[in-house]
Symmetry: C2
DNA sequence: TCAATATGTCAAGTATATTTTACAAAAAGA
DNA sequence: TCTTTTTGTAAAATATACTTGACATATTGA
């Protein structure tokens, strides 16, 4: 999995630290860091919470259409 | 969590059984059933695999904009 | 400079997603 | 009917998401 730069960017746009976002969605800073760093496969419920906090949708932050044609 | 009727519908549109979809994305039938039944919080990677198999996006099948809960 | 904040990472533990095996009932087909 | 497929569900085991606590470094601001 690659780094999630869209998440990092959306967080920066809200001027939130990883810690801020973590607290807002109820996980630890390490979990947010791991998602941005790309080590990992979060649950859709956590992704949804992150998106709502940052004013984005699942497609905005977690969908990759690279592989895909539609 | 409510039933995921959009998933059920998209699967029906492809004429796939829960078992068919499960095999296509590499999980068990019970996992697909649990997601449709709504007991459950799948990983985003699994959601993505399901969406790709069914020709849908994360927003199509897993985003809820009406009600706000996490 | 110096202190405080932000990020990256890691090892060990806990919570939970997912599997395996199994049973029952509804729906579909012949 | 009778048989097969599909769906719903459950208990116990395994894999992995996520936590806790900690340490190091980079960056920012005073």
């Amino acid at each position: 999995m690659a780094k999630n730069l869209r998440l990092k960017s959306a967080r920066a746009a809200k001027d939130m630290s990883q810690k801020d976002l973590a607290e807002a969605v109820g996980v630890t800073r390490q979990t947010i860091n791991a998602i941005e760093t790309g080590d990992y496969n979060p649950t859709v419920r956590l992704c949804t919470a992150i998106c709502r906090t940052l004013g984005k949708t699942l497609n905005d932050l977690f969908w990759e259409d690279d592989f895909y044609v539609n």
